[in-house]
Amino acid sequence: MIAVNKYWHVVNIGIQNTLTYRVNFLFRSVFGLIPLFATLSLWRAIFEGRQTSVAGHTLASMVSYYLVVTIVDALTAVNEDDWQIATDIKDGNISQFLLKPIDYLTYRLCLFGAGRLVYTAVAFLPVALFIVVQRNSFVLPATGAIWSWFLLSVAMTALLQFFLSYTMALLAFWVLEVSTFIFVVFAFEYIAGGHLFPLDILPPALLKFLYFTPFPYQLFFPVNIYLGRTTGVALYQGLCIQMFWVAAAYLLARFVWHKGITKYGAVGG
């Protein structure tokens, strides 16, 4: 009980801290809609004057795809957390966490959750307005069951994103500049996670290969559940695999932390 209380305070602090960034978040979400709109226009131009679908996608389902991506991204994307963790390590700030009865991973996870909460609240208005404008192409999940599977998958996506970013940020124990590493991984997440385009327009062999990596489970998988494109056995199988990746990422994060803390020299602390 005390432990829950303790981390509940962290969430509170996190919310208050990120609230100072609300204008920043608003800019971010509004500016983010511009390239989204551009991508949608690009697909409109491609679908124009053709009767056939693109790898099973109609224009409406394509637009829905990008809109749901935007929502899932707002709920799960790691935004400043990895920079802050790296800075904490570089500046020796984590020394104080080593002395306190607080678990750094749980602490950061609480801050991450708080940050997503505030971001989603701020981004809600512009994104909702945008979706209303595009309402002709926007679909809601067909059944309540899909809703619950989708929410479960989004929660796992958030955890997966967080654990991987956390692990990347821990590289700061070994190297001075982690930002380049973070951007390299981010690039792969961006394309192989399905940010840029729905992965099922890729050649089937490539798609099959991607499903062996964690990337599709960082975005593409929950979006597909929402759109009703992953159902039945594939759904349950996918959820199990996603759970596996979350567990693996968690263990990796713990392991790297353990290695890093052994090496840590408390520079400047």
Partner: protein, 290 residues
């Protein structure tokens, strides 16, 4: 993409090239020699972090490859986007990357650092220098990695041009270079204008970051857009002119010189607006620290 400006590191301060500051040397010569000193400083600073320098080049390369592969995947499913064919779009992506990288080389980090200069009070020092303030603030650092990336972009352009069997004559190339300059001027003016907002709010970071999303539009073929979106990004924030017009010149798709004149006109207009914004901001500047 939430890119933080790079850590600012002070390089060795060299003052040697400023020796010839006698009143008889021309103003232009003086600025050239100052710029040479700044350039020398930048090289020294970059070479202090060699592996970091190389890693940034890899990152940029990867993101560029990502853009190109997006187009390649799309063209697996379609013959054209509007009246643009696959290799024309690749040429466009290459050109827009080229423009963005040159802009990044000379201007980007200087613009993003303006808010930091204001926050720590270093701007006072810049304003007191016996030199045009906008010159020193806009150009004090050169990001050499950008030049390497611009080279890669150029190679992609040449490859795309080969696929299109383009044989541009000297006039086309000269025109392309000239129009590219106009495009860079637009990026610089708008970014500088946005950076000037940090005179009022320290957290201009979000705004400057927002400009990154505009780069995404510059690499899209203009045929994909119509209506108010096209109007806004042609006449207010001319992203759809920056790289589309130079590429259209290369592939000879400009039916009239109207687009060229529009690009040149808009670049001058953007510069004028940013100068007005800058002067207004400086006039209202009250030092942050001290």
């Amino acid at each position: 993409m939430s890119r933080e400006p790079r850590v600012e590191c002070r390089g060795p301060t060299q003052s040697a090239p400023l020796d010839d500051l006698n009143p008889r040397s021309s103003a232009l010569g003086r600025y050239v020699s100052i710029y040479a000193a700044l350039l020398k400083n930048s090289v020294a600073r970059e070479m202090g972090f060699k592996s970091n320098f190389l890693m940034w080049i890899v990152v940029e390369l990867l993101w560029f490859a990502l853009q190109v592969s997006f187009i390649v995947v799309i063209f697996q499913h379609t013959e054209n986007i509007g009246d643009w064919t696959q290799w024309e779009v690749v040429l466009l992506i290459g050109a827009s990357q080229f423009i963005q990288q040159i802009f990044q080389t000379f201007f980007l980090s200087n613009c993003t650092q303006l808010s930091e200069l204001i926050r720590v009070g270093k701007l006072d020092f810049m304003l007191l220098l016996p030199i045009n303030s906008r010159f020193i603030i806009s150009l004090r650092q050169v990001d050499l990695g950008g030049l390497v990336n611009a080279g890669t972009a150029l190679m992609v352009m040449v490859y795309a041009g080969k696929q299109l069997h383009l044989v541009p004559d000297a006039w086309q190339i000269a025109g392309f270079v000239f129009l590219t300059g106009a495009g860079i001027l637009i990026h610089y003016s708008l970014m500088f204008l946005l950076a000037s907002v940090s005179f009022w709010t320290v957290r201009a970071q979000g705004i400057v970051w927002g400009y990154y999303s505009l780069f995404n539009i510059a690499r899209m073929p203009d045929a994909a857009f119509r209506g108010w979106f096209k109007a806004v990004f042609t006449f207010a924030i001319p992203m759809l002119l920056v790289s589309n017009v130079p590429v259209k010149l290369l592939v000879q798709r400009l039916s009239s010189p109207a687009d060229i004149l529009l690009l040149l006109g808009m670049s001058l207009a953007c510069l004028a607006v940013s100068e007005v914004g800058w002067r207004f901001s400086v006039r209202h500047y009250t030092s942050a620290s001290s």
